[in-house]
């Protein structure tokens, strides 16, 4: 099995899907000749040509709108937002059209579009290049939001997103792109959207998180295991709609739950996870449900010290996990 970085897994999944199904095409800013600002679509323009890898104007609403229209006509577009922060001009297209078309047309029409966007901080990108935007879309039934944490999951989930018959937002952590590497099978495989994944078994505390924070939690868990603290880690993978059963099972397993997100704390995905636990797990809980998240300030700061203050990191994870274990 080849070792692949997170971003190589993205490229591989795109390429394999384009080879498998000629209805699959890519559109976005600089995705063609340049191969994307992060090189996610590198080589695809040369291989598949300008009609399957489209360089678009700087207009996110058009990228989404064109994609949605093509999807309704039976194509399988993969639209790229250069940064998740830039998705805002496309929100109307995504929420009012993509999410609601199947419902509004009583199943006559559907929108099998995948919208990819790199999100997240810790890369010295500040405002416009560091935000987490998943919460904006996470109460729009009709949408699915996938946020993988590892190269293996990226390949399986991106393929699943492209093959899904409804709109999927696929958020990739830009710091994970070249930070995370692991063995990824050459074979074609898909992973189920809507299913969380246990990344580590443990009996003392449960950490439920997604994206890059999974990586931090795993690192910390490894460290705490030396002291006899065993951490159970659930990777949500799909943050909307949530895998309720998986969450209930993981929370009930230890009764001590820490929820982690890189997003601002209030109104974030993990608030909903907390509510699911509160509704279902009262008699298994052994500690108040704990949250570790970014502060409620408008954007990722630029100054390195301030970015560090904002970002979740292994030190913060360790402090929180230790506190919960000791409770």
């Amino acid at each position: 099995m080849p070792v692949m970085s997170y971003i190589q897994a993205v490229t591989t999944a795109l390429k394999e899907e384009m080879l498998r199904d000629e209805k699959v095409f890519i559109l976005g800013e600089d995705v063609g000749k340049k191969g994307g600002v992060f090189r996610a679509t590198e080589g695809l323009y040369n291989e598949f040509g300008e009609y399957r890898v489209l360089d678009t104007p700087l207009s996110e609403s058009a990228i989404a709108g064109v994609g949605i229209g093509a999807a309704m006509y039976g194509m399988r577009p993969v639209a790229e937002m250069q940064f998740a922060d830039f998705i805002m001009p496309a929100v109307n297209q995504i929420i009012s059209e993509a999410a609601k078309t199947r419902y509004r047309s009583n199943n006559d029409w559907n929108v099998p579009i995948t919208i990819r966007a790199p999100y997240g901080g810790g890369v010295h990108g500040a405002l416009y290049h560091s935000q987490s935007v998943e919460a904006v879309f996470a109460n729009q039934p009709g949408l699915k939001i996938v946020m993988p944490s590892s190269p293996y999951d990226v390949k399986g989930l991106l393929k699943a997103a492209i093959r899904d018959n409804d709109p999927v937002l696929f958020f990739e952590h830009k710091r994970a792109y070249r930070l995370l590497k692991e063995e990824v099978p050459n074979e074609d495989y898909v992973l189920p959207i809507g299913k969380a994944d246990v990344k580590r078994e443990g009996s003392d505390i449960t950490v439920i998180t997604y994206g890059l924070c999974v990586h931090f939690a795993l690192q910390t868990a490894e460290k705490l295991a030396n002291e006899g603290i065993e951490t159970h880690i659930l990777d949500l993978r799909t943050v909307y709609p949530l895998d309720k059963e998986g969450i209930i099972e993981a929370a009930s397993k230890t009764g001590k739950v820490l929820l982690i997100t890189e997003d601002n704390k209030e109104g974030s995905i993990i608030g909903e996870v907390g509510a699911i636990i509160a509704e279902n797990c009262l008699f298994d809980l052994d500690a108040p449900v704990m949250r570790l998240a970014g502060p409620d300030v408008p954007a990722m700061p630029f100054a390195p010290t301030m970015e560090k203050f904002f970002m979740v990191n292994p030190d913060k994870c360790e402090k929180a996990m230790r506190e919960l274990a000791e409770f």
Partner: protein
């Protein structure tokens, strides 16, 4: 001079590592700040890395062609300035205050989580008996799961349940009439009340009284009293003789000098006698430590000092800790018979009653003798009548043989 590290810079938003394509300097080279020192290649860019300092290249840590993570050391430099490392050292050298060892915090012992209450209910567990490993002594779900797995379940006992329901019941509202006075319960009063309730509820008390003829002791003490006072400056009280006799008897019968500990009895080696000292509305029990090793004068002096301290409210907690047996001078209030409550966690208390002149038959003849009752309360879990009877008989023997010929005051 200081050694500084130059680390791999972040050369782009998603870049986490870089490859050194070539070094532009070699070891020993002099460079000034911002001079390019190496060419670095990442997935996205190729860039020159500038020096962060002015100085001499000491060591090229990473070799050409090597890929290292952002933040890892590329090379070391000798600089003129006071280095970051030295600054670090000075801060690290600041004295670290050792955490003061404190009593284990038990504030969360009775805070039960929903999971703990559910498990306790399902398995009929008595949570009071579970030692919590959580914060503040909290019983955790895992604590219970371990107990359940081990199969050693501390179960609720009917009797215990009824006792605890008594203690937790709120005092019923008492009707007050005109002229009644409401006295708020002070800290000391509350502590006395709690100790008494605990002792009375936990310890199955039993009682025993012997009558002792102390005629010889009384006549000796009456003769000595004045002389002792003049010489030593304090009273030679009867109580000192009793304390001395009890200390000697405990040496012979250490069973009474012990503590009940559920699964074991701890017999104390040190004979530390608590003596009750009353001061108006308060009751103190200072401790005469190692009473068996002290002379009559030494004991008398300590009693005198404790009484003074109690009046002045100057007794320290050190004065009052470590008692293993209590001698209570009830006779000073004129009592001739009383049943003391044991001073928890000790296992017995001896009440020394009033010395009273009474007609007594000796050798079929009446005689006027000085008589005193000694009333013992005992913890029947630890002690039985036989051993206590022997103990009292020995105290009696010691006291009755105290006379001019064999008493040693010093």
């Amino acid at each position: 001079m200081a050694t500084e590290k130059i680390t791999m810079p972040q050369l782009g938003e998603s870049v986490t590592e870089g490859t050194i394509s070539s070094w532009l300097v070699k070891e020993g080279d002099k460079v000034t700040k911002y001079d390019p020192i190496a060419e670095v290649l990442t997935d996205k860019v190729s860039a020159e890395v500038p020096s962060s300092f002015t100085g001499v290249i000491k060591e090229l840590v990473a070799s050409e062609g090597e890929t290292i993570s952002v933040g890892d050391v590329m090379c070391l430099m000798e600089t003129e300035e006071k280095g970051a490392r030295e600054k670090e050292k000075t801060t690290a050298e600041q004295p670290q205050t050792d955490p003061v060892p404190t009593e284990p915090d038990q504030s969360m012992k009775k805070r039960y989580s929903p999971a703990v209450l559910r498990l306790a209910q399902e398995h009929d567990l008595e949570l009071n008996h579970v030692t919590g490993t959580g914060k503040g002594g909290r019983v955790t779900r895992k604590d219970l799961e371990k107990i359940i797995q081990s199969g050693e379940l501390p179960q609720k006992e009917e009797q215990e349940a009824s006792i605890s329901s008594h203690t937790t019941s709120q005092p019923s509202e008492t009707i007050t009439h005109a002229g009644d006075m409401e006295i708020p319960v002070s800290g000391v009063r509350k502590a006395i009340a709690q100790n008494m309730v605990r002792s009375k509820q936990e310890i199955p008390h039993a009682w025993m009284t012997v009558e002792v003829d102390v005629t010889d002791l009384v006549s000796y003490r009456n003769r000595m009293k004045k002389e002792f006072m003049e010489k030593e400056g304090f009273n030679l009280t009867y109580f000192a003789f009793f304390v001395k006799a009890v200390a000697q008897a405990l040496k012979k019968y250490p069973q009474l000098n012990s503590t009940w500990q559920e699964d074991k009895i701890i017999q104390r080696k040190a004979i530390n006698l608590s003596i009750a000292v009353a001061a108006e509305d308060k009751l103190f029990v200072p401790v005469i430590k190692n009473a068996d090793e002290k002379s009559m004068k030494g004991i008398a002096k300590e009693i005198f000092e404790f009484a003074n301290k109690a009046k002045a409210n100057a007794l320290t907690s050190q004065d009052m800790e470590g008692g293993t047996f209590t001698v209570n001078n009830t006779g000073s209030f004129g009592s001739i018979h009383s049943m003391g409550i044991i001073n928890h966690p000790q296992s017995a208390i001896l009440q020394i009653e009033s010395i009273v002149k009474r007609p007594v038959i000796i050798n079929n003849m009446f005689a006027a003798r000085d008589m005193v009752n000694l009333s013992l309360s005992l913890d029947h879990r630890v002690l039985d009548g036989l051993i206590c009877g022997r103990f009292l008989a020995y105290v009696k023997e010691l006291l009755e043989s105290m006379s001019e010929e064999n008493i040693q005051i010093y």
